[in-house]
């Protein structure tokens, strides 16, 4: 079995549904990181069968709250001195700004630069969101 060692300091995002790790990786813009990042896909999980994991080394100041948009069941552990010092509990955010983009080609956000892309939660179960400008409803991270 492939082994990825534990980290001394950083963030571990665990219980990512299999196949979503790369999406989260991109969303967090980790490809631009100048610190060590591990993306583990298809790891064994008792609960989920298969899961993805992201380990971010040596960095703990990270905005991860918006990840609730994708899956509020993700486990996010902040590690220091090799120990979990904090678990971040995610919720499905009521409002998200500049995380997702409207897909309606008639929406003003498709032409006007320098405006925030703002969405409001419509349905917590479906995790559907409504564009502030055109009211189009989207499910940003449906499987």
């Amino acid at each position: 079995m492939l082994e990825i060692t534990s980290i001394e300091k950083g963030i571990v995002i665990d219980h990512i549904p299999s196949g979503y790790g790369i999406k989260l990786f991109n969303l967090l813009k980790l490809e631009k990181a100048d610190y060590t990042v591990a993306l583990i896909i298809n790891a064994f999980s008792d609960k989920m069968g298969k899961k993805d994991i992201i380990k971010i080394n040596n960095k703990i100041e990270f905005d991860v709250e918006f990840l609730g948009l994708i899956n509020a069941d993700l486990t996010i552990n902040i590690i220091e001195d090799g120990k979990i010092i904090k678990k971040v509990r995610l919720t499905v955010p009521e409002k998200v700004t500049n995380v997702i983009k409207c897909k309606n080609p008639r929406c003003v956000t498709s032409v006007e630069s320098n405006i925030d892309h703002v969405f409001h939660l419509v349905d917590r179960e479906k995790r559907s969101y409504r564009c502030e400008y055109c009211d189009d409803i989207i499910i940003p991270y449906s499987k």
Binding site: N104, R106, C107, V108, E112, C134, I137
Partner: protein, 307 residues
Amino acid sequence: MLKGRSLIDPSDFTREEFREIFDLAHEIIKNPEKFSKSCEGKILATLFYEPSTRTRFSFEAAMLRLGGQIIGFSEPNSSSVSKGESISDTIKTIECYADIAVMRHPKEGAPKVASQSVSFPVINAGDGGHQHPTQTLTDILTMERLKGNIENKVYGFCGDLKFGRTVHSLIKFLSNYEGVRFILISPEELRVPEYVREEIMKKKNVPFVEVEKMEPYLGEIDFLYMTRVQRERFFNEEDYIRLKDRFILDAEKMSFASPETYILHPLPRVNEISVEVDIDPRAQYFQQAKNGMFVRMALILKLLGIY
């Protein structure tokens, strides 16, 4: 207090605030001369990025009849917009010259972006297939003049309910009133958008049905709101041609309607209401267009804080 506010969406004002506008509009209709100098020294800017007849003319006529003046464009190619200027830059510039602005734009949410960029009132005169709140003011004023009030009524909406911005605004407005019921008549492809169904009608518990034939329902409808299929919103001409003639209201169909079923239409009409219906006293769409000017006069006066 409506002074300095913008009207972008029917949810921007409370029922009481809309009441103030309608009461003033009724007063203007009774005695228009009284208001003929109310806006002296004030300038209305009309920014029409999309063609318009009624809305632009009625806003311009409204301001002129209030004694004010107008500046603006009705053809974006004749302004800096054609050079790629952003909406927020354009409106910030207009704010230097005018007291109030009206904007029509093909992009949905454009007037909202404009209103967020400035501190003077911006009025949405139609944004893409999204909202058209001042048409709603026109529609409500017409309905009040015909039946006294808008509560406890059955409203039929027919035609293009998907892209019909006047329909979206009117449904949003009426959903705040007691005893309203909607009959939504359209082909499946042109049904109301999801946000209108889920976020407005269902959340407000408004009874509605979505059907594909108008005849069985005409007898129970108080106001039948006809709309044209919006050619300019289709990305595919074939779809437009296939759907455009699905609902045509003619004299024969009018025989199914009750003597008190009034026919409204935001205009322009293409062929969805036969010309023969125009002489029927229940056809009220041209009176509706006239009321549009009066209610826009009232809106301008309120947003400028003159009344």
